[in-house]
Symmetry: C2
Subunit: 549 residues, 2 copies
Amino acid sequence: MKIALAQLNYHIGNFNSNTEKIKSCIKKAKIQGADLVVFAELAVCGYPPRDFLEFDDFIISSNEAVLEIAKSCKGIAAIVGAPTKNPEFQGKDLYNSAYLLVDGKIRDVRHKTLLPNYDIFDEYRYFEPNKKFNIVEYKGEKIALTICEDLWNIGNDPLYTVNPMDELIGQDPDFIINIAASPFHYDQHVSRKGMLVQNARKYHLPLIYVNHVGAQTELLFDGGSMVIGDNGKVLGQLSFFEEDFAIVDTKNLSSFKRANPLDKYPSATIKTGLIYDALVMGIRNYFQKLGFTNAILGLSGGIDSAVTLVLAADALGYENVVSVLLPSRFSSDHSIDDSLQLVKNLGSPHQIISIEEAFATLQISLKPHFKGLPFGLAEENLQARIRGVILMAMSNKFGYILLNTSNKSEAAVGYGTLYGDMNGGISILGDVYKTQVFELAGYINREKGIIPENIINKPPSAELRPDQKDSDSLPDYEILDQILYQYIELRKGPKELVKMGFDEKIVKRILKLVNTNEYKRYQTPPILRVSPKAFGMGRRMPIVAKYLA
Amino acid sequence: MKIALAQLNYHIGNFNSNTEKIKSCIKKAKIQGADLVVFAELAVCGYPPRDFLEFDDFIISSNEAVLEIAKSCKGIAAIVGAPTKNPEFQGKDLYNSAYLLVDGKIRDVRHKTLLPNYDIFDEYRYFEPNKKFNIVEYKGEKIALTICEDLWNIGNDPLYTVNPMDELIGQDPDFIINIAASPFHYDQHVSRKGMLVQNARKYHLPLIYVNHVGAQTELLFDGGSMVIGDNGKVLGQLSFFEEDFAIVDTKNLSSFKRANPLDKYPSATIKTGLIYDALVMGIRNYFQKLGFTNAILGLSGGIDSAVTLVLAADALGYENVVSVLLPSRFSSDHSIDDSLQLVKNLGSPHQIISIEEAFATLQISLKPHFKGLPFGLAEENLQARIRGVILMAMSNKFGYILLNTSNKSEAAVGYGTLYGDMNGGISILGDVYKTQVFELAGYINREKGIIPENIINKPPSAELRPDQKDSDSLPDYEILDQILYQYIELRKGPKELVKMGFDEKIVKRILKLVNTNEYKRYQTPPILRVSPKAFGMGRRMPIVAKYLA
């Protein structure tokens, strides 16, 4: 049987565009002689639809779209993901399902058994787990049809007490199909492939895996759909970060060949290269799906805004990203010069708007109310907020989306000004530690010097008071980022960190900073997720807690 | 057996303070002759601990606290809620458990079966559901020990396929104890009581119910713990919104008497009175738990900031809430006069800081960049943002927390300025529709005119351009709030709304506004939750979606 893998970028809730995209792909697959075309998990409504699933109107629209897609399945079959109503009296109202569409009709439906409910996943919020296990049959082939997490309960720390393939294997399937919505993080392509290979080997079955691609706000789906032989050999993998399409013949699996999508990255910088491409896709799709074309950002002369600008220029076109330089009395000359050099290198537009006048005026307005207290945090934040006000005014006037340039290290310790430099429609580097931002800058400059060396080499500073440096109040980023990684990604506690050799005082101070700044992160823009534990929907913390604080 | 109901206000992650509070309550109960004292669900760590549960260090600290509490159980037993490790290989790592502590030791542990995972609840994110059903025994009494949701699967639309009491009833228990963390919304006290009464009746057992009280950021726990007879009669209920303590003798249930905590509210305004008290507790606990004493807010002359001020003055003391009047060229005279009258009525401090100078200066700075475009949204937002900047400068300078004064109707349709009037550490009215804000104002003025009538009677306006009124761009709040309620609380779709008689054009426009302003609400402060569906953790929506948008 010839099976087409359709790796597409869906738009949540946009039933018209998703349906058209799916139908035209069915047409293409039919022309190319496929018997069956496979689309991703919840392809019809996009993933994750979140609480829209609680609206009957949304489910009805989804059902209508499925019927319309079914109609186009003549002389070809399709597997598409969509929510279905749970007809039982008890349990959640919906299933997360895979339809088999044949001869213009719904032939069969299978439901997801394992519902991820951790990190960024909330599936048990909406769906009842499947409890009946049956293969589907098509053209004499017996298919173990599974949905994403259904294959993931295979490691050393099983999250679930059931394993769907253990139930299906007794029905003697010919191969496994898995439709997925498995988001990117920089190590996920390795664990995902490992998990799929383990399944193919354990059950001695070929495996066809079709994933989402494209960004849904903070979630970046990298695609990388693949075909694996019954010996666990990966026969071919589709692209990362873009739509792709391929046909595999199950009677002649070894003829399936694809270039390895990792080949484009120099081997020493695979991780950084993946992060770079993921962020570019994240920016591009955020703008596309919201119907915007132009971005604006504040260019400080520091490395974070420089890297953000390059990523945005790559995603949106260099001419569509306006940099605004917002100097104050505390800005060093080289901050301006370096920024000007960068926009010149990119050929992208810039403007210079001094904050001095507004800063002076607001200080005068506030003076009678500040009771003679000395210059301090309020005045530092005031400058950052005036910059935020100016950028938002430009954003409102011209319909640009403001890009947030904060990095993950800053976001973690609260080193940023709410309603100031923490503004933005979307945070580009909020899941990238400062040390990783340096790696991105190196990656950007790997062939030619796009970001001026001076921006990369100078000591990080917020430039909100004379001679300020980040290192005045924070440990070196090499140390800070290690502590943060252990605490945030690996959930190590203070005792474990001290045992690892970190200084106890520093550990306590950093963990306290992380925990007491939860209130700030609550109000930050959505953050493009590239790590296994990003701030935002995947990390849910109480604000008024008093723990390590 | 004499059982003490301990209705306490816990602090998430503050093991020292929770442990001390629990121990001193055990001591009190012992002095008063109780055999057993019952604390709420997850009392030891506070509810909801959210992702702190993923830290081993947190669980270890909780276990240590349980052992310390156990030590104080000599001559008295206690039931306390805490997380426990799941010893099984498969499944989630934790249980949500109830300990029975006797003779200085852990005598028994029971786990929660039904894990709420909807609205504001995420319990299946952390916990494995219980699958073994056993009563606990103490002093010859057989106790069906259940945890919150365990009793909730009794209505017409069962969310779960199991019912723990159906499993336990065969073991012939003498009574039910339920320890809970059931948050407030304005109708919850009715459904909660109904559910408990149904259980007592169905199983013909007395029921002792102990709930959390106090606010945890946005979640407001109202307490209202109670004792119900085996005939379903509520024998007595503890206070709402404050800590409380009572002892019931299971051999003489009918002697248990408490004043009805609803009696304090005039019957026509119970709902509004409950919302008022819930919000006051929410403000008070937010400040207490974060270690702050003083609030600041912008007083516009409108009803939202007026009601917010009164609530904050009640919660924190009138002298601890600074109102800042921030007039511009578009502020009407009466806005200032009415605001001054209000602070005078309350005796609370105020300051006047004109935004005119900063507005003029920023317009000059922006002029060369605005390309001669006419006054518009950018200039309107600019004023709101300058106000935000000034309020945050005062907040930073003096350590005040800024109160957000936006209401739910505005938040729904995006009628507010990000980084402007949407600023604040906590949103007081973000779950209160405009029409309900008027009801709160009426409730506040029920005995004397605290809020000047002019503030209540004038047409709502943002005063950001000449003669602006909310009704210029929005339907009347009576209509708007009904549509919003149907869409947000009841999840009705456009077809259903039109069928109900709302104008189709208005419905489409409002739903589109709600959905396209998700990006703004993503960055709003946490909102004190008083309705069954508040913006924030209980309503999770994709930002880049295109559905009814």
